[in-house]
Every structure is written in C-alpha cells, then in structure tokens.
C-alpha cells in the first residue's frame, strides 16, 4: 500500500508514505531533483504565428475552431512589444506554433531576441534560420508514403532530415496514430542512422474528429509497447521514459489522469497555468475559454506531448508516495526538459518499471 491511510474517515500522515526528505536521500535521486528543479522558473505561453501552412494534414488541430480565421499580424514591432509585455507578466518560455511558423522567420527572430527560451512546432519542410536558437520540434506522422497520403507532402521525412540533421535544436516528434504504429520502426531506424533525436507524441483528436487516426484502447497499448521497445533499443537518441509511455497511452486521457490545469479546463486564476498561461492567436488576441496548448483538441482524448509536459510535471505532489513513482516523475520531467529546453541534456532514466499514474485521492 502507498499513500495516506484513511483512518476513520480522516487522513493520517502514516509511516507508509515516505518523507520527501527520505525520497531525496539517495544521491542519484537528489542529483536529478536538483537538476530539474533549476527549471521550475519556466512559465509558458503559446503563440500562433501565421494562419498559413505549406501542407495540409488530416486531423490538424489548427484548422479546427475559430482560431484559423483570426487575421495575421505580421508587424515585427507588434510582436516585439507583445514579447516584452509577456516578459513583464512573468512569462519565461514561448511555444511558437500554428499554422506553420517557418513561413514567418522574421517574427521568429524578433521573438527570440526578446525571449531567449522557447520552442517552435514545425513540419520541417522549410528550414528555420540558425539564428533562431529555440528548440525545434519537427512533426513526423509516418513514413514517406503515409506523409504523402495523410499530409499531402512528398518525400517529407527526407526533406526534414536534410534540413535538420546535426542541428542541436532539432527533436523529431513521431505522432502515433491508430494507423502508423508499426511504421515507426522504419522511421526511427532512418532517423537514428542520421543521429537525429526522437521523441513521441500520441494523436489527440480535434473536437468532432472520429476518423481513422483516432486511438482506441488496443492501439494505445500497442503504441505503449512500441514506445518502450524503441526507448530500450535507442536510449541515446530516443528522448522518452517508461513513465512517458504509460502516461500518454493510458486508457484515460491526460485530463482524467492529472486534472488538466490549462485555463480552458481550469477556472482558477490563483497560481500556475490557470493564472499565467495564454494562447495567442495570429491577431495577438487570446480567449481564456479556449486557452490550452492544443486548442480545439477533444479534452477526453488529449494525450498530446505538449499538454503532458505541463500537466504531468505540475503534479509533483501526487508523485511522492513512493520511490518508484517519484523516480518516474523525475524521468518524465527530465525528458520534458531535454525535449523543450536548449542545452539541457537528458540523463539515464531512473525507473524502468511500469508505474500506474497516481490517482487523485
């Protein structure tokens, strides 16, 4: 048994639950805790940069909902002012996304000049200038045949690798759909042969989407198995942990497992994401009622890697009930930082066991 015992309806601080200081007593755990906590200052917001994209993918969340109809603001000084205002508001990390940020490199440069920590979500078809020193997440949805069919893009993986091979900013993000689980073998093999870094995402349906990419319980379990196989096979190149695999392929989505704290799902403005997070559209406005890192995603189906990076990480408190759960949380945070922060090097995972996400008491 782990956790607080419920004795006659009242919680007691029992001897089964370890003290936090006991969890930190092992030198390797203390070291990892000190390594990750240096980044607790990160406060994110996300920004749609343009409503244009050079490819069109099935199941793209950007082209759902109202945000795609916002007008574009391409004025670099407006973006500079926005970044300065964001900094004053306490934001320390920007995620530049939708629809395709590589189409507006001048805006990316301005953001980077004002806010040095961040990442860009791109399809990788057009290379982002090296002067923009953010992490770059290149979305991969399968092999070239699948990309041609689902994304209407020819030779996409080849082009992505050409653009970003050897680029320390780059992390290739393989999105598992219900249809492409086995294809990851050949894609991973190609990426690893070119010494690229790889992490995993799980397709999370936009609101109303019931197409063939949507996962079911069986495909989620197959995905989990494949993720762990590849993690074990390519530990240097695959930025992931067993707990990442568990959290993102659980039959319950992230919201049910961890209580998503993005404003869209969280009315509280007291502290954390509910207080500071905003999702700006291309016209530089934002709407609290839809603000999250993947707007217009169906919340019960959300297993998105970006959402998990904030939502799982924020639940430190729930992961201190036993050593393996805490180690799993540390692996998750270590992975998230390696994927999202330039210069952060992932350590060896501390827990290889499958640990069930802690339930809300």
């Amino acid at each position: 048994m782990t956790g607080n015992a419920i004795v006659e309806g009242k919680e007691s601080f029992d001897s089964v639950k370890p003290k936090f200081s006991d969890l930190l007593a092992a030198p390797n755990i203390r070291e990892r805790w000190e390594k990750v906590r240096r980044y607790f200052f990160l406060r994110e917001s996300t920004y749609d940069m343009t409503n244009r994209c050079n490819i069109r993918c099935d199941g793209c969340y950007y082209y759902e909902g109202d945000k795609q109809f916002a007008s574009e603001n391409l004025n670099t000084e407006d973006w500079r002012n926005l970044m300065r205002t964001e900094k004053k508001r306490g934001i320390t990390y920007v995620v530049l996304a939708g629809a395709e940020p590589s189409l507006v490199p001048e805006l990316l440069k301005v953001c980077y000049e004002e806010m040095p920590l961040g990442s860009i979500a791109t399809n990788g078809f057009k290379k982002i200038p090296e002067s923009v020193g953010y992490k770059i997440h290149i979305s991969v949805w399968g092999n070239d045949e699948t990309s041609r069919r689902v994304r209407r893009a020819k030779n996409l993986l080849k082009k992505q690798i050409e653009n970003y091979q050897g680029d320390e900013r780059a992390v290739f993000v393989y999105t598992f759909t219900r249809e492409n689980i086995d294809e990851v073998e050949e894609v991973a093999s190609e990426l690893i042969a070119d010494d690229c870094k790889l992490t995993f995402n799980v397709f999370s349906s936009p609101v109303g989407y019931n197409g063939p990419l949507r996962h079911d319980e069986t495909s989620l379990l197959r995905t989990r198995k494949k993720m762990i196989e590849l993690l074990n096979r390519y530990p240097k190149n695959v930025l992931f942990s067993v707990y990442n695999a568990v959290a993102h392929t659980h039959k319950k989505g992230l919201h049910d497992l961890y209580n998503c704290s993005y404003p869209r799902c969280n009315p509280s403005q007291d502290i954390g994401l509910g207080r500071s997070f905003r999702q700006y559209r291309t016209d530089l406005n934002w709407d609290r009622s839809v603000a999250c890192c993947v707007p217009d995603t169906d919340c019960p189906d959300c297993r998105h890697y970006a959402a998990g990076s904030a939502v799982v990480t924020a639940r430190l408190y729930r992961h201190v009930n036993d050593a393996d759960t805490f180690k799993s949380w540390l692996d998750y945070v270590d992975t998230y930082l390696a994927v999202w922060v330039m210069g952060y090097e992932k350590g060896e995972n501390l827990c290889r066991k499958i640990i069930e996400p802690p339930q809300v008491r």
């Binding site: 607080n4 200081s21 607790f40 406060r43 007291d270 502290i271 994401l273 408190y317």
Partner: protein, 90 residues
Amino acid sequence: MPEKRDMEGIIRHVTEVIIGELKLEDITVGTFNPDMDLVDELGIDSMDLATIALVLQDEYKITIDEDDYPKLKTVRLIAEYIEEKLTGKN
C-alpha cells in the same frame, strides 16, 4: 519537528524554509514580510509552492492537501494553516 510551535515560531520557520528552498539571496528572516503575497510579490509558482509544502509536511508531520495550495498565499496564511493542522491533531 521545529522547536517552536507557537505562531511566531511557525512564521519564522516557514520563512526559513521558503528562503532556503527558493535560494533567496536578498531577503533574510528579519526582513521577510509575513503578509507579502508570495505569488504576486515574490513570483513563486505552483512548483515552488509544492516543494515548500512537501518540506513543511515533513517537518510538521502534517498533510497539506493539493487543493489547499491556492489558500497559502502568504507566510502568515501558511503558518495559520499549519497551526490549525497541529491543533486539530492535538
């Protein structure tokens, strides 16, 4: 367990924990205003607060519920929360 469990002692100890955990260099226990808003004025966030709560839980052998974090906006409010828990236990 910290020695002094009266309100003044708890305030002092909570302040020490916050200064230590957040590695605040410009503030001392003597200059720390116990009514300062930790989020608005000191800029702490949920992860900092969770860390502080876990350390205080250990030291006072109490449980600080995750849902109560938003209430813990100042050192004085944290101290009052701890005192209530200790009194409830006794």
